[in-house]
């Protein structure tokens, strides 16, 4: 274990000194994975830090990080920790409005961005009154005619850094040794499912102890090969590709573009993979659609082995023993079905597979375990540097998230809320004492999740405290839990279950354009648009089956009685879901209030006028008649 005085800068220097020739990062450029070693990476970070210093970035300033995963943006984040400044990553698809919220929080001295698109956004911010002195870009395409003041390329920044280092001989030592563990590592934001995002500053001590706790509990080893594909503004990405990667010398592989991730994933075949349940769901849908399109013989083989394996997994989950026959099935299935499927998706070298961010559907979880992937649940928050508890590799229990990590103490409050204490927990919301006071009680951090500890120390998370709701008859339920079960159907992309304080539950669903579109193609169902497809009676029957299946697993009072298939998918640009695709329940219930009303007043259809935000930021409206279906 490292000592308590470690900072990102010192760990990086240590890697460069002791493992200078090992690969630190690979970034795919025109099909080729360009490798850089730890020595080169440390150099680049140092020059970048000196460059930012020359631009006048000082302690307490913030630098906005805008774009998809890029090696240089990661280097920039590490460099800013040397300057004791805040690296503030934002989602690449963030709208101007969302960014403006960030601008108000801290003094943003510069922006480090991916490409022209993001440069334009920063220029819009400037126009709206933000005082961002410099813009540094990674990819220069389309920028040669820009004459915006303060705009410079990454190379120009490094050049400035070089000059600065040459002029100030002691700068290098100051940069490497100047920061302390209590200085900021990154400036994150809460996901904001229930309101405006709150600023969360994680110190270097927070993030480093977070990943050390996770390592001690076996979440990853030294030198894992990982794929950096998560959005940079998500704490999971920072914790892995910066904190854990530097602390444990990971090889970080950066995909070429957002839309090549699947292919790049296959080329890399990471050892460690953390994904949100949604991503696992999507992959599952791809597999199911792929098999559906396959020949009868291959379909039969797939079902022969898969169904048995899923069955065996279920029995294991229920604590029953599995027989010799199951083992044999797994062995043969691995060779002819599971292995090839895992190979197609780049999962074949996976040793540590995690799902985190929200609860995963039972069927999805079991599916991957049946496929031979030791999928484990991870419980964490932005506020606690992403790692609170993980399941051990050997155990396969669905309802718990495993034991709390070593170094993380868990207490359950009287009202059932999970409280935490650990070095990895932040000091408080940035410039928001009211929220900070609400988040801490006697030195314990209130997670906002309801849960309990089992006798053997396993933590059970039930859902957000604010999300546990009751029907009129007092039946307690977590909408998210039912929604996840619905989403197991490949045809349902998003779902919103309503019924708090009402007699019975109903749901609004968005069909999966790709899966249903393909199904329609195969079954000769004509349609002209997503909205049209969603209202087809054939599609309704398809959805009906999915609902019936989910209802079978639900108790009497919690069964879904009616549903409406919405005419558009939930979109983060419309504020219906967050950028990590979590449902913003309040927004959805407000926007679709007429639909909810129709679900309960017995009408057969509902006329809806919806406001749509286009990618340009303009708004328009769409009118549609949606049909209410009985299950």
């Amino acid at each position: 274990m490292g000592n308590n005085n470690d900072t990102i800068a010192r760990l990086l220097q240590r890697n460069a000194a002791e493992h200078g020739d090992d690969i630190a990062m690979r970034e795919k450029d025109r099909g080729i994975w360009m490798e850089i070693t730890w020595a080169e990476y440390a150099d680049e970070v140092l020059l970048c830090a000196a460059g930012f210093a020359a631009l006048g970035v000082k302690q307490g300033d913030a630098v906005m990080i805008l774009g998809n995963n890029r090696v240089r943006l990661y280097a920039g984040m590490a460099a800013l920790s040397m300057l004791r400044a805040y690296a503030m990553p934002a989602y690449a698809a963030a709208t101007l409005e969302e960014l403006q919220h960030f601008v108000g929080e801290a003094n943003i001295a510069a922006a480090l961005v991916e490409d022209q698109e993001q440069v334009d956004k920063v220029m819009d911010l400037r126009e709206a009154g933000a005082d961002i002195a410099s813009i540094v870009y990674d990819e220069g395409r389309g920028l040669n005619l820009y004459d915006t003041p303060g705009l410079m390329s990454w190379d120009a920044l490094l050049k400035k850094g070089e000059v600065n280092l040459a002029k100030n001989p002691d700068l290098k030592t100051r940069l490497i040794e100047g920061s302390t563990p209590d200085d900021p590592a990154v400036f994150m934001h809460s996901s904001g499912t229930t309101g405006a995002p709150k600023g969360i500053v994680l110190s270097q001590k927070n993030v480093i102890s977070g990943v050390r706790n996770a390592h001690e509990d076996g979440a990853f080893e030294y030198g894992e090969d990982i794929l950096a594909y998560l959005p940079m503004a998500w704490v999971g990405d920072y914790a892995l590709t910066v904190a854990a990667a530097i602390t444990f010398r990971f090889i970080v592989n950066v995909p070429e573009r957002e839309d090549t991730v699947q292919r790049d994933m296959r080329e890399i075949a990471p050892n460690f993979y953390l994904a949100a349940p949604r991503t696992w769901d999507n992959m599952l849908t791809s597999i199911q659609v792929g098999i559906e399109n396959s020949t009868p013989m291959k379909k039969w083989l797939y079902h022969f082995f898969m169904d048995r394996s899923i069955d065996a997994q279920r029995r294991t989950l229920n604590g029953e023993a599995t027989g010799l026959l199951d083992k044999l099935g797994l062995l043969v299935g691995e060779q002819i079905i599971f292995g090839p499927i895992k190979d197609q998706f780049g999962l074949s070298r996976l040793k540590h597979a995690f799902t985190g961010g929200e609860a995963i559907g039972e069927d999805t979880f079991i599916f991957y375990r049946a496929l031979g992937i030791k999928l484990r649940q991870l419980y964490g928050q932005t506020e606690s540097s992403a790692f609170n508890a993980i399941q051990a590799a050997g155990e396969a229990r669905l309802h718990t998230v495993g034991k709390p990590l070593p170094g993380v103490e868990v207490k359950i409050a009287d009202d059932g809320e999970i409280m935490l204490q650990s070095d990895s927990i932040f000091a408080g919301y940035f410039n928001n004492e009211k929220a900070t006071a609400e988040a801490f009680r006697d030195g314990w951090f209130l997670t906002g999740d309801a849960g309990y500890l089992e006798d053997d120390g396993h933590l059970v998370v039930l859902g957000r405290v604010s999300e546990v709701v009751h029907t009129k008859s007092g039946e307690r339920y977590v909408p998210n839990y039912i929604e996840n079960r619905l989403k197991f159907s490949p045809y349902i992309k998003d779902a919103a279950v309503v019924g708090a304080g009402l007699d019975e539950l109903t749901a609004m669903v968005c069909v999966d354009a790709e899966a249903v579109g393909h199904w329609a193609e195969v079954n000769a169902v004509p349609y002209v648009s997503y909205a049209d497809l969603s209202q087809r009676p054939e599609v309704a029957e398809l959805l009906d089956e999915a609902f019936k299946r989910v209802n079978k697993a639900l108790t009497e009072g919690l069964q879904l009685h009616r549903f409406v298939s919405l005419h558009k998918e939930f979109d983060p640009d419309d504020g219906e879901i967050t950028r990590t695709r979590k449902l913003r329940r309040k927004v959805v219930e407000e926007r679709y209030a007429p639909v909810i009303e129709a679900l309960y007043d017995g009408s057969k259809d509902v006329h809806l006028k919806a406001v749509v935000t286009y990618e340009t930021g303009e708004t328009g409206s769409v009118e549609r008649t949606l049909l209410v279906r009985e299950v």
Binding site: E267, N293, P340, K342, D343, Q344
Partner: protein, 357 residues
């Protein structure tokens, strides 16, 4: 199923252009090569020298014809004639006392010169006209051979080939001769595999697809056609010489008659135009299957106690063999090589049905 691709990534263009980027392909090639090298210890010498050896030599010839027909798209009906030029030149050179290494080279170059000469006249015409011109070359060569005692020793004479030797070592053992054939075949295969990824190979393909279009792209189609004829003729010449030196041991005009030209072309077409694995399979089908079919029929007749006449026994296998070729070409008109590629593609995306988007 067997083609595992995850984890295969390239960190330089050099590695990206590897000959076998798929590990399973590489393993298969290595396995076959080891099998080829170990064959003298695994296969009885009768089979080694009367099946394996000619198969490898004819494969080299098929690859050479594939270069001009499959890659450059020029129909060639006089391939045996070109082989004859190489065979006679090399044997005469060897008789003259020139070491075999150089004799082979002389054979190759002589073929190359004659082949390109014909190319010059032939390249003024295209398609069927070209086919007819190359056929004429075949007949001219037949006539020259039978009517020039200086070359062939006369119409029914044959020319004894001196004992084959490499680096001063006489090679007479079965295994030794087999290794010579294997070495040449591997050499030609490596050349053809590399041809695919060179500018020359791409230019040839461009010429094949449409010579006007290639010319517009800046590919001098006449030049590349001549290069294709010259390179293919060189391979033919050396192969012809090796065929005589290690298999026939004497050269006679009827070994390189028009039916041989047709046979090599049949190997190319059944194997698949432009396919390397197809060249191996095509040569095997034409060369080895008649014997196998014969055995099956005579054996089968014995087993069920059917007393077939000699005549019938001689003709039924021929009919079956012809039917086999027709069936193969009906199932996959692009040849055995394409059949193999189909199986490979099928397993490549297993258990899914098509490549993912």
């Amino acid at each position: 199923m067997f083609y595992r691709l995850s984890g295969v990534h390239h960190s330089s263009y050099k590695s990206d252009r590897k000959m076998f980027p798929v590990p399973a392909d590489r393993n298969l090639v290595v396995f076959l090569l080891i099998l080829g090298i170990a064959a003298p210890f695994l296969v009885p010498s009768l089979y080694l020298n009367s099946y394996m050896l000619p198969w490898l030599i004819w494969t080299a010839a098929v690859l050479g014809l594939n270069l001009v027909t499959g890659w450059a798209g020029q129909l060639h009906l006089g391939y045996a004639a070109v082989m004859a030029v190489g065979a006679y030149s090399a044997v005469h050179a060897a008789k003259f006392g020139i070491p075999w290494e150089f004799a082979l080279l002389i054979g190759g170059l002589a073929s190359s010169v004659i082949g390109s000469l014909f190319a010059f006249t032939a390249l003024r015409v295209k398609g069927l006209y070209l086919a007819l011109t190359t056929l004429a070359m075949q007949f001219v060569m037949d006539w020259v051979l039978t009517h020039s005692p200086a070359i062939s020793g006369g119409s029914h004479a044959s020319l004894q080939s001196p004992t084959f030797a490499l680096l001063g070592q006489k090679i007479t053992s079965d295994a030794g001769l087999y290794y010579v054939a294997l070495g040449w075949c591997v050499l030609v295969t490596i050349f053809m595999l590399n041809l695919k990824r060179t500018g020359l190979g791409r230019a040839l393909v461009a010429v094949r697809e449409k010579d006007f279009a290639a010319a517009i792209l800046g590919v001098n189609s006449f030049y590349y056609k001549v290069v294709a004829f010259a390179a293919s003729s060189f391979i033919a010449g050396v192969t012809g010489a090796i065929l005589v030196a290690t298999f026939y041991f004497l050269a006679a005009p009827e070994q390189f008659a028009v039916n041989v030209s047709i046979q090599v072309l049949a190997m190319v077409i059944i194997g698949g135009l432009g396919s390397i694995i197809g060249s191996y399979l095509g040569a095997a089908l034409i060369l080895l299957v008649p014997g196998i079919v014969n055995k099956i029929f005579s054996g089968g007749a014995d087993v069920i106690g059917l007393n077939l006449g000699i005549e019938t026994l001689a003709h039924i296998p021929n009919a079956a063999y012809g039917a086999l070729i027709v069936i193969f070409l009906m199932v996959e008109p692009l040849g055995l090589g394409k059949l193999y590629a189909n199986v490979r593609d099928y397993l490549m995306v297993w258990p899914f049905d098509q490549l993912k988007k």
